[in-house]
C-alpha cells in the first residue's frame, strides 16, 4: 500500500517545465519529508498530485494503492484518499466551516445517505478541542478573516475530519509561531498510524522537530536529488542547499 510517484513530468500551461521526473514512494505507516529551496517544484508536486488544472502532466504516473489517479477529477482524487493541506488556503465567503466540512464528508457517502448531524458535531468539537480552536469557528465562513495560524489549524482540522489515507502538507509550518506549530503537529501526530502515509513539504527543518519523519528527500529543479533518514534534515540545516550547486555543475 503506497502513494507511488514514478518519473512524473509536469509543465505550466505555457509549457515551462516544473517537474522533471520525480520518483517517490510513500508507503502507509511512513512519514516522508521533502525539503528544497524555493522554486524547486515542491509545491507544484503537491498540486499536480491533487489535480490542479494549472499544470499539465507530460509524463509519468501517480498511483494510489495501485490505482492511477492522474485520470481522476480533483474531487475524485480526494475521495480516493489523497488530502492536500494548502500553503495558502482559499477563503470561501458565506460558507460556514461546519457546512463545508460536512459537505466534504457528505460527498463520501452513497447517494441517499445522510450525515448523522449529532455524531458529526460531536466529532468536530472533539477535534477542534484537540487543535485548541474556538467553537465559533464552526459558524465562521471558511478561512475568511482567519489569521495565518488559524488557517493552518483549519487545514489540519479538515485532515482530521476526513481521515485521508495519504496526506500532503504543503509548507504547513510557514507563517506559524512556535505555539501554533506545536498544536498543528499535535494534530498530525494524532493521525499517524500504520494505515496512513504523510508527505511533509517544508523549507525549514523546524517542522521536523515536531513531526518526526522516517525519510527526508531533497528536491531541486523538479527532481528528487537526495534521499536519506531524518539526519539529512539536520545536515541541510547546517550546510544549506549549497551542495545543489555542486551537483548541478558536476
Amino acid at each position: 500500500m503506497s502513494l507511488l510517484i514514478e518519473n512524473l513530468h509536469a509543465t505550466l500551461e505555457d509549457g515551462t517545465p516544473i517537474l522533471n521526473g520525480v520518483n517517490l514512494e510513500i508507503p502507509t505507516g511512513e512519514v516522508h519529508a521533502i525539503m528544497g529551496p524555493n522554486g524547486s517544484g515542491k509545491s507544484t508536486l503537491s498540486k499536480v498530485i491533487s489535480g490542479h488544472e494549472s499544470y499539465i502532466v507530460t509524463g509519468g504516473s501517480v498511483t494510489l494503492d495501485g490505482v492511477d489517479i492522474l485520470e481522476m477529477d480533483i474531487d475524485q482524487r480526494s475521495r480516493a484518499g489523497v488530502f492536500l493541506a494548502f500553503q495558502y488556503p482559499a477563503e470561501v465567503p458565506g460558507v460556514s466551516n461546519a457546512n463545508f466540512i460536512r459537505a466534504a464528508l457528505q460527498a463520501r457517502l452513497p447517494k441517499g445517505q445522510d450525515i448523522d448531524a449529532v455524531a458529526y458535531y460531536k466529532n468536530l468539537y472533539a477535534k477542534m478541542d484537540l487543535l485548541e480552536m474556538d467553537r465559533k469557528f464552526t459558524a465562521r465562513s471558511v478561512n475568511e478573516g482567519f489569521s495565518g495560524g488559524e488557517k493552518k489549524r483549519n487545514e489540519i482540522l479538515q485532515l482530521m475530519m476526513l481521515e485521508p489515507k495519504y496526506s500532503i502538507l504543503d509548507e504547513t509550518d510557514s507563517g506559524l509561531d512556535i505555539d501554533a506549530l506545536k498544536i498543528v503537529a499535535k494534530g498530525v501526530n494524532a493521525m499517524r498510524s500504520a494505515d496512513r502515509g504523510f508527505l511533509l513539504i517544508t523549507h525549514y527543518q523546524r517542522l521536523l522537530d515536531y513531526i518526526a519523519p522516517d525519510y527526508v528527500h531533497v528536491m531541486s529543479a523538479g527532481q528528487i536529488v537526495r534521499s536519506g533518514g531524518p539526519e539529512l534534515a539536520l545536515e541541510l540545516e547546517e550546510t544549506g542547499y549549497d551542495f545543489l550547486k555542486e551537483l548541478a555543475t558536476a
Binding site: 490542479h52 477529477d73 480533483i74 474531487d75 470561501v92 460558507v95 460527498a107
Partner: protein, 432 residues
C-alpha cells in the same frame, strides 16, 4: 386610426371601487385611473427603462384576478416561520386566513377591512408619494385597481416580538393582482414583516403589480422582507418606498427566485438626523428569467446613513439590470451612504447590467458606490473540490455563500432561516 377594443382588460376597465369603501378612496382610485390613462407608456430610450425588455409590459389580454373560494390547501402550503406574531394569507388578493397574536394596540388587518374601520389612519399614509423610478403609470394602475392588501400600524413604543407573515398566492391565466402593503411603525416601535409571493400552479401566466410603503417614525425599527417565488410564466412589478424619520431604522430585503420577468423599484427617504436605511436584495435568476432592479437612496436630512447591498447570481441565459442612485439633497451634510451591486456569473450566456450612480449636493459627505461582475474564482473551486466535494455541489455552495452574505445582514435568525429555505428551493432546481 383608433384601435378597436376587442376584449376587456385592466387597461380598459375602469376601477370598480367597492361601494362600502370611503369616498376619499373612491376619489383616489378615480384620479389614479385618469392619471394612468394620461401617462405615456415607457418607450425605448427612456432612461428609467434603459436595458429593460419593454416588450414584457404587455397587459392587453390581462384581466383582474378572480377570488377563488377554496383556500384550505393554500393555507397548508403557507409555511413560513415557526414563531410568528401574526399570519395572513391572500389568494388572488382575496383574504383567506388571519392568525393574530399581536398586542391589541397593533392594527394588523387586510386593507379592505382597514379602509372601513381605520379610514382616516389609512388615508394619512396611503400612497403619499408618486413612484419616481419609472413605474408611475403602473403604480397608478395599481392604485386604480387595488382591492386589498395589508395595513399594519404599530403604535408608539410597541415592540412586536416575532415577525408578521403575509402570504400571497396567485392563479389564473392572464389574470392580475394588485396587492398593497402599508406598514407604519410609530415612534420607538419595532416590527418585522415578511411577505411572500407564490403561484398556485406552475402553468398560469399571472401579473402582479404590488406596492409596499414603509413608514418608520422617530426612533422606530422596521424590517421588511419580501420573497418573490412566483412561477416562471408570471411577471411582477413591485414598488417599495420607505420613509425614515430621525433615529429610525428601516431595512428592506428582497429575494427574487421566481417570475419570468420582475421589475423592482425601491426607494428610501431619509428624513431625519441619524435615520438609517438598509436595502438588501438577493436574486438568483436562471433560464431566461430577467430581473430589473432600480434603487434610489434619497438623503433629505443631514446626518443620515444608508447602505445598499444587492447581489445577483446569474445562471443560464438569465439577465439582470441594476440601476442605483444615491442622491444627497442640498443641505444634507454629514451624509454617509454606500451602494454595492455584485454579480456572480454562473454561466457564459448570462448578462448583468449595472448602472451605479451618485449625485451629491452637500458638503462633508461620505459616499461610495461600486459594482462588480465576476465568475467563481478557480481558487475557491479547487479548494472545495480538493476536499472531495463534487464540482456542481462546490459551485452551488459558493453561490449560496455569496447570497448568504446578504441574508445574514438581517441579523434575525428565524427570518434568515426562512429566506434560506426559499433560496434553497431555487438552488435545488439548478444545475451548476
Amino acid at each position: 386610426m383608433p384601435t378597436a377594443i376587442s376584449q376587456p382588460s385592466i387597461l380598459t376597465e375602469a376601477p370598480r371601487t367597492s361601494a362600502v369603501f370611503p369616498a376619499w378612496f373612491a376619489r383616489t382610485q378615480e384620479a389614479a385611473w385618469t392619471s394612468f390613462q394620461q401617462t405615456a407608456a415607457p418607450k425605448r430610450g427612456d432612461e428609467p427603462w434603459r436595458f429593460s425588455s419593454l416588450k414584457e409590459l404587455d397587459f392587453s389580454a390581462t384581466t383582474r384576478a378572480e377570488f377563488l373560494g377554496e383556500a384550505s390547501e393554500l393555507i397548508q402550503r403557507s409555511k413560513g416561520l415557526e414563531q410568528f406574531s401574526a399570519k395572513f394569507v391572500f389568494v388572488n388578493d382575496g383574504f383567506a386566513l388571519a392568525i393574530n397574536h399581536l398586542p391589541k394596540s397593533v392594527i394588523c388587518m387586510p386593507l379592505a377591512e382597514a379602509l372601513l374601520s381605520h379610514s382616516e389612519l389609512v388615508e394619512q399614509y396611503f400612497m403619499r408619494h408618486p413612484a419616481t423610478l419609472g413605474s408611475k403609470k403602473f403604480t397608478d394602475l395599481h392604485t386604480a385597481h387595488l382591492s386589498n392588501g395589508m395595513f399594519i400600524h404599530v403604535p408608539a413604543g410597541v415592540v412586536v416580538e416575532h415577525p408578521i407573515e403575509i402570504f400571497h398566492w396567485v392563479q389564473g391565466q392572464h389574470q392580475a393582482t394588485f396587492p398593497h402593503t402599508l406598514i407604519v411603525a410609530g415612534e420607538k416601535a419595532q416590527v418585522r414583516v415578511i411577505e411572500t409571493f407564490q403561484s398556485i400552479n406552475e402553468r398560469d401566466a399571472t401579473w402582479t403589480i404590488a406596492v409596499n410603503d414603509l413608514i418608520a417614525e422617530k426612533a422606530a425599527n422596521l424590517q421588511y422582507s419580501v420573497v418573490q417565488a412566483l412561477n416562471t410564466e408570471s411577471k411582477i412589478i413591485s414598488v417599495n418606498a420607505s420613509e425614515i424619520s430621525a433615529s429610525a431604522v428601516a431595512t428592506s430585503f428582497q429575494l427574487h427566485t421566481g417570475a419570468a420577468w420582475a421589475r423592482s423599484e425601491s426607494i428610501c427617504r431619509l428624513l431625519g438626523e441619524e435615520s438609517r436605511s438598509y436595502m438588501f436584495a438577493v436574486s438568483v435568476p436562471s433560464h431566461d428569467q430577467e430581473y430589473d432592479l432600480r434603487t434610489f437612496q434619497h438623503h433629505v436630512s443631514p446626518g443620515a446613513y444608508s447602505d445598499l447591498l444587492y447581489k445577483n447570481s446569474l445562471y443560464d441565459e438569465s439577465r439582470t439590470i441594476f440601476s442605483g442612485l444615491i442622491f444627497v439633497d442640498e443641505g444634507a451634510h454629514r451624509t454617509d451612504a454606500y451602494q454595492t451591486c455584485r454579480n456572480l456569473l454562473m454561466s457564459n450566456a448570462c448578462e448583468a447590467n449595472s448602472m451605479p450612480g451618485l449625485e451629491i449636493n452637500a458638503d462633508d459627505v461620505k459616499c461610495s458606490h461600486g459594482s462588480t461582475s465576476s465568475q467563481i474564482s478557480e481558487e475557491e473551486i479547487f479548494y472545495l473540490r480538493a476536499r472531495g466535494i463534487h464540482s456542481d455541489t462546490a459551485r452551488q455552495l459558493i453561490a449560496r455563500g455569496f447570497s448568504i452574505e446578504v441574508i445574514s445582514r438581517l441579523a434575525h435568525e428565524a427570518s434568515e432561516t426562512y429566506i434560506l429555505r426559499m433560496l434553497d428551493e431555487k438552488f435545488a432546481t439548478l444545475k451548476s
